[in-house]
C-alpha cells in the first residue's frame, strides 16, 4: 500500500508549479527581441526624423528681398546645393548640417539625385556621396524629397528648369 498522507500538499505543489511556469512564460514572452529584419520601430523613428530634416532644409529661413526673382528670393538650402556646378563638393557640408538639425552626429548618409532626361526620355542619376568601399552596411532607411531647380549648374544643356528627386539613405553607426 502506498502512503497517501500528503495528497493535498502534492496537488498544491503542482498548482504552484503551473502558476510559476505560466507567469515565467508570459514574462519572458513579453521581452522584445529585435532582429535585422524586424526593426520597424527604429525604422519608423529614423524615417520620420530624416523626412523632417529634409523638409527643414528645403524651406528658406528668411525672405531675401534683394534677389531678382521669386525663386531666388525663396531658394532653400537644398535648392541652392543641388543647383551648384558640382553638388558632390557640397556633400560634406550637407551631412554636417543634416546631423546638426537631427541633433545626432552618429547619423550616416548616402545621397543620390535623380532627374528626368526629356531628350532621351529616360531617367538619369547623379551620385552625390563619395564612393564607399565597404563590404557591409548597417540597416538603413530611404527618404526622398522633390527639389525645384531653376537652371542648375551641372545640367547639359544649361538653362533647363527641372524638378529632381533627392534620395538619401540614412543609417546610424
Amino acid at each position: 500500500m502506498v502512503g497517501e498522507e500528503a495528497q493535498l500538499y502534492t496537488i498544491e505543489g503542482f498548482a504552484a508549479a503551473i502558476l510559476i511556469v505560466v507567469t515565467a512564460y508570459l514574462i519572458l514572452n513579453s521581452t522584445f527581441i529585435l532582429t535585422p529584419g524586424d526593426t520597424h520601430i527604429n525604422d519608423l523613428q529614423l524615417e520620420q526624423l530624416g523626412n523632417d530634416v529634409l523638409r527643414m532644409m528645403d524651406t528658406k529661413n528668411s525672405f531675401d528681398s534683394t534677389a531678382p526673382n521669386r525663386y531666388l528670393q525663396t531658394q532653400s538650402y537644398l535648392e541652392q546645393w543641388l543647383s551648384s556646378n558640382d553638388p558632390k563638393l557640397g556633400f560634406d557640408p550637407f551631412v554636417t548640417q543634416f546631423q546638426g538639425y537631427a541633433g545626432d552626429s552618429r547619423l550616416k548618409l548616402d545621397a543620390f539625385m535623380y532627374y528626368w532626361d526629356h531628350g532621351a526620355n529616360r531617367m538619369g542619376s547623379y551620385s552625390l556621396s563619395p564612393t564607399i568601399h565597404s563590404t557591409s552596411h548597417e540597416h538603413y532607411v530611404t527618404i526622398t524629397k522633390y527639389v525645384y531647380l531653376d537652371n542648375p549648374g551641372w545640367d547639359d544643356p544649361l538653362g533647363v528648369s527641372r524638378t529632381v528627386l533627392l534620395e538619401v539613405q540614412l543609417w546610424r553607426d
Binding site: 493535498l8 520597424h40 526622398t144 528648369s161 524638378t163 528627386l165
Partner: protein, 121 residues
C-alpha cells in the same frame, strides 16, 4: 484524508492572489508590445511623407510659375515629378496641368490611393 496543518491559510491565499495579479500584468505588457509593433508597421506602410512631399512640391511649382506665361515650365516640372515617381518609387502620380487657380493630384502606390483637388484663392 491526511490531517493537514491549516495554520497558514491566509498566507497561501495571498500567494495565489499575487500570482494571478502577476499573470494579468504580464499579459498586459505582452499585448502592449504587440500593439507597438503592428502600429509602427502600419504607419511605415502608409505613405504620409510621400504625399506631403508631392503636395509641397506642387505648391512650390505653382508659386514660382504663377505667371500664366510660365505654364509650360510648370508643366515640365510636373512631368518630371510624374516620371521620377514612377521610376524610383513605383508610384503612379498624375497631376493636372498647371492652373494657378486649381490643381488636382492623383497618387497611387499600390497600397494607398490619394486624390486631392486644391483651389487657390
Amino acid at each position: 484524508m491526511a490531517r493537514l496543518n491549516d495554520d497558514g491559510q491566509w498566507i497561501i491565499m495571498m500567494a495565489v492572489i499575487i500570482c494571478i495579479v502577476l499573470i494579468l500584468l504580464a499579459l498586459i505588457v505582452n499585448e502592449s508590445m504587440l500593439v507597438g509593433k503592428t502600429t509602427s508597421e502600419s504607419v511605415l506602410e502608409f505613405s504620409k511623407s510621400d504625399i506631403l512631399d508631392v503636395k509641397d512640391e506642387v505648391s512650390r511649382i505653382r508659386e514660382i510659375n504663377v505667371n500664366p506665361e510660365n505654364v509650360g515650365v510648370a508643366d515640365s516640372h510636373l512631368e518630371d515629378m510624374e516620371h521620377l515617381s514612377l521610376a524610383r518609387k513605383s508610384t503612379i502620380l498624375e497631376i493636372s496641368e498647371c492652373n494657378p487657380a486649381q490643381m488636382s493630384i492623383h497618387f497611387n502606390n499600390g497600397v494607398t490611393q490619394y486624390e486631392e483637388t486644391v483651389w487657390y484663392l
